[in-house]
Amino acid sequence: MRLFALYFAQYAKVRLEYKADFFIAFFSSMAATVLGFGFVLVLFTKIPKLQDWSFYEILFLYGFSLIPLGFFNVVSWNLYQFGDLYIIQGKFDRLLLRPVDTLFQVLFEKFRLESLQEVITGIFVVVVAVERLNVPWPAVDYLWFILMVASGALIYLAVFLMLTAVSFWFEDRVGIVPPVFNMLTFGRYPLTIYNVFIQFMLSWIIPFGFASFYPTTHFLGRDTFNIYFYLVPVVAASFFILALFVWNRGVENYSSTGS
């Protein structure tokens, strides 16, 4: 934990060296996130409901999905570049020399600080939606909320960690990450609009549904999916343990390129 703080502080210093630049990056990526809502905003000028979901309910779902994603994006930078940077250019050798876990180093060597705007935007949208919807929000829901955000971030991390670990076996990048990344869009709309096949996939194969949809149903008082809601932390933990296992097998399997 102390080491994490040191890594984080160090990187924050580097980024804030160029203050103007950082703020431009921060606000332009916030503009991007806000534009992402455009589709929903325009759509609901024409329709009253999407299935039985009202505008503010969809807004809650979309906003909530951004919060765990934002936290994940802060550390995800190196995962996307892993094959290139660490395996092909051989940077991974250096990590093995240090007395700290390799995964820790990969995740926390670089932070994408501006992704915190997704967290901020997400929270803002969720607060507005809750106010407008007048859903009951008991005190215990704050704890659930934090747990769900943490679980969601862990699910994203687990999925992309597994995909990244593939680089240990196959150096050439087929580019399997972008399609999976694009599946995140699925999680921003009610799972019930999709067919059974996609619902199953988003729950049990690439469990993005557990990161956004199932938590949302509980907070909005839709009890149909209550069992799934309580399963969220379990699914997150299971997938994360699986991802760690795959990662560690990858590290064992790793042989340097010699560069």
Partner: protein, 284 residues
């Protein structure tokens, strides 16, 4: 690299020759094509990506149309065709000129672009066109086939509409290239341009009508968009395909598209002239 031989024109630039010019930029076009070929594996997953996009919107629109037969003059079949054709043509006109320029700045290679005796803007556009030619065969056509097999996509309204559509899509490429180059000129000034690129990315997706037809927007926006080039990237070409624009309307639309291509190229040129002066000051 063997492909550098075209970089130096045989004759002084003042002695303008169309053939020589075509040969130079043809060379860049070829480089764009060949460079992309190195990443051809990625295009298989690209097809999956486009398929995912269309599927998401297919289900959303299906849920919406379970309540109503027609929205803003679009029935479900038309809207599905709108979405599928929109994403298919995007796989062709899309390019990364702005990102490439930002990359060049970070690697300090932009100075090399400046000393080449060619027009930097057209060099980037020619390369992107080569890339798009590649995407057309490896991404656009397979994506179109997959979408046709899976979703009930409608045929173009008529042969004439289809021809007009093809020309319009070709012009869309230049619109996007023009916009991307203009945005890319900011790469010279900013250190991290990624946020800006993301904002532009989402702005184009929305304002081009890719995500939702422009006629679904509130009227204020529609009026505003009429004076902007964005809807000519996706909305207008697809309307031509669907037959919502026909006859003389097609010619008029193509005319405005050409106007915007010229305007954007001019703006990009002006911005580049400004930015490249700044590079000299920094010493590259």
């Amino acid at each position: 690299m063997a492909s550098t031989d075209f970089a130096l024109p045989a004759r002084p630039r003042s002695e303008f020759s169309l053939v020589a010019t075509a040969r130079i930029y043809g060379g860049f076009l070829r480089v764009g094509f060949v460079n992309t070929m190195a990443y051809r594996l990625r295009y298989y997953t690209g097809i999956v990506t486009y398929f995912i996009y269309v599927s998401v919107y297919y289900f959303i629109w299906k849920a919406i149309y379970s309540h109503s037969v027609s929205i803003e003059g679009f029935d479900f079949g038309q809207l599905l065709t709108y979405v599928a054709v929109g994403w298919t043509i995007r796989s062709f006109y899309y390019n990364n000129i702005d990102q490439d320029m930002a990359g060049q700045v970070l690697e300090g290679k932009l100075a090399m672009d400046l000393i080449k005796p060619v027009n930097t803007q057209w060099m980037y556009i020619a390369q992107a066109l080569g890339e798009s030619a590649f995407r057309l065969t490896m991404l656009t056509v397979p994506t179109a086939i997959v979408l046709l097999l899976v979703f009930p996509v409608r045929k173009p309204a008529s042969v004439g509409n289809f021809m007009g559509f093809l020309i319009s899509v070709f012009l869309s490429f230049f619109l996007v290239a023009g916009i991307n180059f203009a945005v890319g000129t900011f790469a010279v000034r900013l250190k991290s341009i990624l946020g800006l690129l993301r904002a532009k990315y989402f702005l184009l997706e929305l304002f081009s009508g890719l995500l939702i037809p422009i006629s679904f927007f509130p009227h204020v926006f529609q009026t505003m968009f009429a004076y902007m080039p964005f809807e000519y990237i996706s909305y207008i070409p697809v309307l031509i395909y669907l037959g919502k624009i026909s006859g003389v309307g097609i010619l008029k639309a193509l005319g405005i598209q050409i106007f915007w291509v010229a305007a954007l190229v001019a703006i990009g040129h002006a911005l580049w002239t400004l930015s490249s002066k700044q590079i000299t000051i920094q010493g590259g």
